[in-house]
């Protein structure tokens, strides 16, 4: 057992790097007290190294630490997404006025970001119920604190408090569901063992339904699915922008990865192979697609409808990210390999466009100190480059060609239509149209309204512009040249233990 | 089976009565020893050499009026001294007073309960002692009491950690959680002549445990929570009569317990070195061992008392400083070093 653990260490290098970086960032911050930025650079370096190590283990499909964590293409894909978002967030934080105004706590900021990334790395690979809970807790704890980071602002503390309470409640519900599932399947904590137990001796469907609904409640909280989304607007609005961006992309990605993996391994009959279009058969004939489809419709619709009324840009983007979670759930509702591949593609493009939108909000907030839609009046004239980038990001978020967002939605709708889920596709299309309204509202403010008299042009430094380019270019590029992403996603939809 | 139950009951009754009497004697001892240190006579009027003084004090407390402040939260106000004394007395259940003896044909262990997680039991019960103090401070509706209660609880939980970690060192050396096994482990001899008492094997742990025991029993130099000049009376300001008596008794019972635990864990318990060479009959040997335990206990208690009347008290921030920044790293280092040494020796 112990030798196996030692062997597993070799496949576990990215997470080890992150753990070392966490401690190193803290130590560096303590030793070099007068230069807190040093720990941020150390943390950034650590995350970069961990991404390099993740790329190195791209082809491996293995279970490490006696079944606790799986290292497979699926996990690697999501680790890359989470890691890249973390790198972007660190770069954002270097230029964020909010973060830099609290120099004294910068060390803890960097180390907690690294801890959060580590938690997400563990989340995407967890194949044991215990590891699932632990990794959710690690991510959650770090994000509760980071949400309340600018604690002098009252809405930040409020955000943190709400997040903690919701998180504790959802984790409690999830643990309850896990305990019922544990009992039903005869003491199996490994999700493969759960699958085997469910296959060999079918259990009471009502009990299984209750257990799964509770676990979905916990996971749905992480991905902000309705009706577990109530924390999202307040937390996204109150937390510092960099943290909001991180939560909206990486936390959602990790939550989705865990949800998909849990579903695929535990509740799908893996012996039914060779079916057309890789459709999955659920154990005991459970109607999971209906349940997930309902969740998806609720999420999309609520996200889009409420976003229409928002005036605070962070809150608007919060509801928009809820809606995007709904689109991704559509891909899951199909319960087929194609759907999963579509979700993976969507995540790649979502990362770029969402991070980009939040970055622009951060830049504007740095200079004007406000996140209100009204303060975006005439932004297109005060700072053309920022205005145009924002337009590109919003068009991508709405899903219009020739941006990457269109590709994401295209693949999701294509897989929906392939699986004959016409009504869901129609709902999705209507929701995209509704989302166009609130995105274009901001664009209208930026380009069709004159700026206030006493506001001059906004100047941004070169590194900030370069960072923005790093986000704008992929958003446009992947709208036209998307085959590498598609191939990568198709290859990554394979999970450990599944063919 | 009936005889076992009977033996248990006898042990229980014997223990409780012995402990209560001893605690009362401890009060008397403190007063006499402190008088000796301060070059005066202590109580010497009531009974021969004033031996009945403590008893008379308890009777006096019983007869005093029980005053409860008007806005005090009465249920909790009544509950707090009960928690204190119950916790203080419960710890004795696992202390072995002597070796296993043959009585009426059955093996009888000289401890009330041979719990196989004895050390954990000790730590759990000790950690419950915080409630007596905290609730007493809060329920009195008096800011001095509240402050004293909160300070005391903070001090107690801080030093609990060091206490637990010191015990980990003993646990690693003896390899068992059972207290009678720990004492048996200490009956061997190192290098043929030195009894393997944990004070020799784990000197750092002994040192830190002793200090933590001072803090846990609210004895000087850690008695700021009840220091008269600073806090009027601390958490037991508003208590009169028997309830105050219970707190008073609980403090000395805690001291007695701490001494008993130190004796058991570090000083070899009932072990009298080279006693087996004396060639005595088992019964005599057992009696001698029980006496040894009592002598060691008395020595430890005397040390407690002497320290109280010799050293000035710590300021509160110094106290917390020591608890977290000195004791905790020291005990953790002790665990590390013990582990390393054990690994090397093998």
């Amino acid at each position: 057992m112990v030798d196996q653990a030692l062997l597993s260490l070799a496949k576990f290098l990215p997470e080890i790097t992150l753990a070392i970086t966490f401690c190193l960032a803290l130590l560096v911050g303590v030793i070099f007290r007068s230069r807190p930025r040093l720990s941020m650079w150390v943390a950034l370096l650590g995350v970069v190294v961990s991404i390099a190590l993740t790329i190195r283990e791209m082809g491996i499909t293995e279970s490490v630490f006696s079944g606790m964590i799986a290292v497979d293409p699926f996990a690697t894909f999501f680790k890359l997404i989470v890691g890249s978002s973390a790198i972007f967030i660190f770069l954002f934080s270097l230029y964020s006025a909010e973060v830099l105004s609290t120099m004294k706590r910068l060390v803890e900021y960097s180390s907690l970001l690294v801890a959060m990334t580590l938690g997400m790395y563990l989340m995407v690979g967890a194949t044991n119920l215990l590891m699932m809970v632990l990794s959710i807790e690690l991510t959650g704890l770090s994000s509760y604190v980071l949400a309340g980071y600018t604690k002098e602002a009252s809405d930040s503390s409020e955000a943190s408090l709400k997040y903690i309470i919701y998180g504790a409640l959802s984790t409690g519900l999830m643990l309850y569901g896990i305990s019922i599932l544990f009992g039903l399947t005869g003491g199996a904590m490994d999700i493969y063992a759960i699958n085997r137990a469910l296959v060999t001796s079918p259990v009471n469907p009502i009990a299984l339904l209750v257990a799964s609904l509770l676990i979905i409640a916990g996971l749905g909280y992480k991905i902000s699915a309705v009706p577990f989304h109530f924390w999202t607007p307040d937390v996204y609005e109150g937390a510092p922008i960099t943290i909001t961006a991180f939560l909206s992309v990486a936390s959602k990605a990790a939550g989705f990865a865990m949800l998909i993996r849990f579903f695929k391994i535990a509740f799908i009959d893996s012996s039914a192979v060779g079916l057309p279009a890789g459709i999955w058969i659920t154990l005991q004939g459970f109607e999971w697609n209906k349940i997930i489809a309902i969740l998806s419709v609720l999420t999309m619709t609520l996200g889009n409808l409420v976003a229409v009324w928002q005036n605070n840009l962070k809150r608007l983007l919060a509801y928009s990210s809820i809606a995007h979670a709904g689109y991704m759930l559509m891909g899951l509702a199909i319960l087929s390999d194609k759907g999963i591949a579509a979700v993976l593609i969507y995540f790649v493009v979502y990362m770029f466009m969402n991070l980009g939108a939040f970055y622009v909000v951060m830049l504007v907030s740095n200079k004007t100190g406000s996140e209100d839609i009204d303060s975006y009046k005439g932004l297109g004239f005060r700072s053309p480059f920022i205005g145009v980038s924002m337009v590109i990001f919003f068009i991508s978020l709405a899903g219009l060609p020739p941006t990457a967002g269109f590709i994401g939605k295209l693949f999701i709708f294509a897989s929906l239509l392939d699986a004959k889920w016409i009504w869901l596709a129609v709902v999705g299309a209507i929701n995209s149209v509704i989302s166009l309204y609130y995105y274009v509202r901001v664009v209208r403010n930026m380009f069709l309204r004159d700026p206030d008299e006493n506001s001059g042009p906004l100047k941004f430094s070169v590194p900030e512009i370069v960072l923005l380019l790093l986000l704008v270019v992929p958003t446009l590029l992947f709208g036209l040249y998307y085959s590498p992403i598609v191939d990568f996603a198709n290859a990554s939809a394979r999970m450990l233990g599944v063919h | 089976m009936g005889s076992l139950l009977l033996i248990s009951v006898i042990k229980f009754v014997a223990y409780v009565s012995i402990v209560l009497v001893t605690v009362i004697m401890l009060v008397y001892a403190e007063r006499r020893v402190s008088a000796f240190i301060q070059n005066r006579l202590g109580p010497n009027r009531v009974g021969p050499w004033g031996l009945f003084q403590a008893l008379v004090d308890v009777v006096k407390l019983l007869l005093k009026e029980d005053i409860v402040p008007k806005n005090a939260y009465k249920p909790v106000h009544d509950l707090a001294p009960i928690i204190s004394i119950a916790v203080a007395l419960s710890t004795f259940a696992v202390i072995p007073f002597g070796n296993t003896i043959e009585l009426f044909g059955t093996q009888v262990k000289l401890m009330i309960a041979d719990v196989n997680v004895g050390i954990l039991y000790l730590l759990s019960i000790t950690s419950l002692g915080v409630y007596g103090v905290t609730l007493a401070g809060w329920s009195s509706n008096n800011k001095y009491s509240l402050l004293g209660g909160l300070r005391s609880s903070a001090q107690l939980i801080s030093y609990e950690l060091s206490m637990g970690l010191s015990i980990i060192g003993v646990l690693m050396v003896c390899g068992t959680l059972r207290l009678d096994q720990i004492v048996l482990h200490q009956t061997t001899y190192l290098w043929g002549w030195l009894p393997a008492w944990n004070i020799f094997l784990q000197p750092v742990a002994f040192f830190t445990f002793f200090i933590a025991a001072f803090a846990e029993t609210n004895r000087l130099p850690f008695d700021l929570p009840e220091a008269e000049p600073e806090l009027v009376g601390g958490y037991h300001t508003e208590y009169t009569g028997l309830k105050f008596g219970l707190f008073f008794l609980a403090e000395y019972a805690n001291m007695f317990t701490a001494g008993a635990v130190i004796t058991t864990l570090f000083l070899g318990g009932w072990h009298l070195p080279y006693a087996e060479y004396l060639g005595l009959s088992p019964t005599m040997l057992s009696i001698l061992q029980v006496l040894t335990f009592c002598v060691k206990l008395v020595l430890v208690e005397l040390f407690f008392i002497v320290v109280r009347w010799t050293i000035p008290r710590f300021r509160y921030d110094q106290l917390m400083n020591i608890g977290w920044k000195v004791m905790l790293p020291l005990t953790l280092a002790n665990v590390l070093v013990t582990g390393a040494v054990m690994l090397l020796i093998q």
Partner: protein
Amino acid sequence: MDSHAVATGALYGYRNQKSSSTNNFFESSVTLETFLFYTLGAVSVGSALMMVTRRSPVMSALYLILNFFALGGLYLSLHAQFIAFIQILVYAGAIMVLFVFVIMLLNLGDEKKLNERFSWKKIVGAGLSFGVLMELIFVFAFSKANLPPSHFEKATDIGTVENIGMQLFTTFLFPFEVTSVLLLAAIVGAVVLAKKKLN
């Protein structure tokens, strides 16, 4: 409350002293266990009910402590000694102390009696709890528990410290180490949130 713990310890110790079991002993142990189970169960349910119905937060906390004690006793009756004492040590002895601390420092008064008579919240809440209760009973009464064979010969061996330690450092080594990272993140986070500027 503590005499109960001592009595349990005394009776437990009494049981340990007798290594061989006679028929009489077995019968009486079954009765003892059943008696303990019902008493501890009643205490735990009762204290939980009292905890949620008290108006004073300190009394609620005290009832919760009593509940943890009862749970610890129940764990003892299931031969999980380690968990039982860790429950008392950690939950009742450390976590609840902090709860009580905070309640006292915040000086929370008694909850005021609310004037509302009819509220949808109560109806929905009651309905949901009833539903959960029904589901619990359903799950436990009507589903098969297909438990895997245990590694240990005697049930009493599962809860011992040695065996828990062995499992913790071999099978569950990885979650154990991850928990340490989790604790470090929690400590750092707590300091960040709570630290006040000294100047």
